[in-house]
């Protein structure tokens, strides 16, 4: 029991993913600043932001909204992100849980944050938040099928195993899945799914600061907003870690391999940041078309190649 609490709250769980995620979000902002020839924020900026929102700022509840759901949805978000983090990081850190079928559980847990953003946005009673919520809902509908197809491709490549620990072990004994044609295609599709799941720029129409001024988060302030920011940081670590686990060999945490693990993580986040900084925001119709037609097509081609063992 004590070991499980430690897993959930401290080491691969809440505290660890939150701290690493905060540093990654600093990295994201710094790279963005360097791309625009700016200097960028100091290293501890995400912590300052988080503690300011948590400790200093007042929490305002919307007068005409559903207050309970409005306050509960950041809690759901944080719970979903943390649980997904625990389920992804336990196999990555070579701690086997003896639980087979965690790929499916992770898929559902990763949906919880986006869904509770929609709940919070709609319960706030703000028309702009409702617009953002409806866009987020459409975005979820477009990328979830694609993300499922990526997982199906992984399951086929690993010989019908739905155990993340087995998938990582198989790659560490053989070669990483990204070394094959179908692996490369699956990686491209997975990166765009991540971009949409993290609501980074080509697919950031739910928040769209310049257009609907914050969108789904427009009414949040103080502690609930701090929790939303925290779960965004957690997702910025957990989702790239998941892609590394399913396609890029996972982490080996001994000796010099730790540097290699950090390098892989930074490379994936850097790729996401560069995509974010070199693309304009697309319309929701274009995003749905992009996922429904092109990304699904590439994912299906990858699955067919994977069946033939390429």
């Amino acid at each position: 029991m004590g070991a499980y609490l430690f897993y959930f709250l401290i080491y691969p769980g809440f505290l660890f993913v939150a701290v690493i995620g905060a540093f990654l979000s600093w990295f994201d902002r710094k790279i963005t600043a360097r791309v625009q020839f700016r200097k960028g924020p100091p290293l501890l900026q995400p912590f300052y932001d988080f503690f300011k929102l948590l400790l200093v700022k007042e929490t305002i509840l919307p007068a005409r909204g559903a207050k309970g759901l409005f306050l509960a949805s950041p809690v759901f978000t944080l719970f979903g992100a943390t649980m997904a983090g625990v389920f992804i990081l336990l196999p990555l850190m070579n701690i086997t849980t003896g639980f087979h079928g965690d790929l499916i559980v992770i898929f559902y847990l990763l949906t919880i944050p986006s869904l509770s953003f929609v709940l919070g946005a709609i319960s706030s009673g703000n028309p702009l938040a409702a617009v953002g919520g409806s866009r987020e809902m459409k975005l979820i509908m477009s990328y979830e099928l694609t993300f499922m197809l990526v997982l199906i491709g992984i399951i086929i490549k690993s010989g019908m195993s739905i155990d993340l620990y087995q998938v990582i072990l198989l790659q560490q004994e053989g070669s990483p899945f990204i070394g094959s044609i179908s692996g490369v295609l699956l990686f491209i599709v997975a990166i765009f799914c991540l971009q949409a799941k993290l609501a980074l720029v080509p697919f950031d129409m739910p928040e769209a600061e310049t257009e609907i001024s914050g969108g789904i988060f427009i009414e949040y302030s103080g502690t609930p907003f701090a929790m939303i920011r925290l779960s965004k940081h957690i997702l910025l670590f957990v989702l790239p870690a998941f892609v590394i686990a399913i396609l890029m060999n996972g982490f080996v945490l001994e000796g010099i391999h730790i540097l290699w693990a950090i390098g892989k993580l930074i490379a994936v986040v850097l790729l996401l940041t560069l995509i974010r900084n070199t693309n304009p925001r697309v319309k929701i119709r274009q995003a749905m078309r992009f996922f429904f037609v092109w990304m699904n097509l590439i994912a299906i081609i990858a699955i067919v190649l994977a069946i033939f063992g390429l």
């Binding site: 902002r29 200097k39 100091p42 503690f51 200093v56 305002i60 914050g214 427009i218 949040y220 302030s221």
Partner: protein
């Protein structure tokens, strides 16, 4: 300085309220966010929603139509919130001070923490005001 104040001063998020402005101050405020001056070094971000804001930047002369809107925006901001009056119009009313529709400079409507005069103030002046605001307790 306590931990709370330290975190607050390290992460001031800006919200921009333009009254009946001639757009000159707005452009100089935006210049502070561009690569040359870059206030993100101090942890400042321009946010889209007043609910996330810590600093309310007010520029332009406040006329009868603007006054209730400014009050509404100030009431919607989560406290503590700092108010900065930018430009001659924001600080005193400037050339509009004796106009018929003028509804008083910003500090007659809401409490103001820092004044940055100028018509328009240069980005350097705005940065100096920002530094004074951070240094003020």
């Amino acid at each position: 300085m306590s931990f709370k104040t330290f975190c607050f001063k390290k992460s001031l998020w800006l919200f921009h309220f333009g009254g009946a402005s001639c757009n000159n101050c707005d452009i100089e405020i935006l210049a502070c966010l561009t690569p040359k001056y870059d206030v993100e070094r101090f942890g400042m971000l321009l946010v889209g929603s007043i609910r996330h804001a810590d600093v309310l930047l007010v520029n332009g002369s406040i006329n009868i139509k603007d006054k209730p809107r400014l009050l509404e925006i100030y009431d919607q901001a989560p406290k503590p919130v700092l108010v900065v009056a930018i430009g001659a119009c924001g600080c005193t009313g400037g050339i509009f001070a004796e106009g018929d529709t003028f509804a008083g400079p910003v500090d007659k409507i809401i409490p103001v923490d820092a004044y940055i005069p100028g018509c328009p103030p240069k980005p350097e002046a705005i940065l100096a005001g920002v530094v004074k605001l951070i240094g003020k307790n």
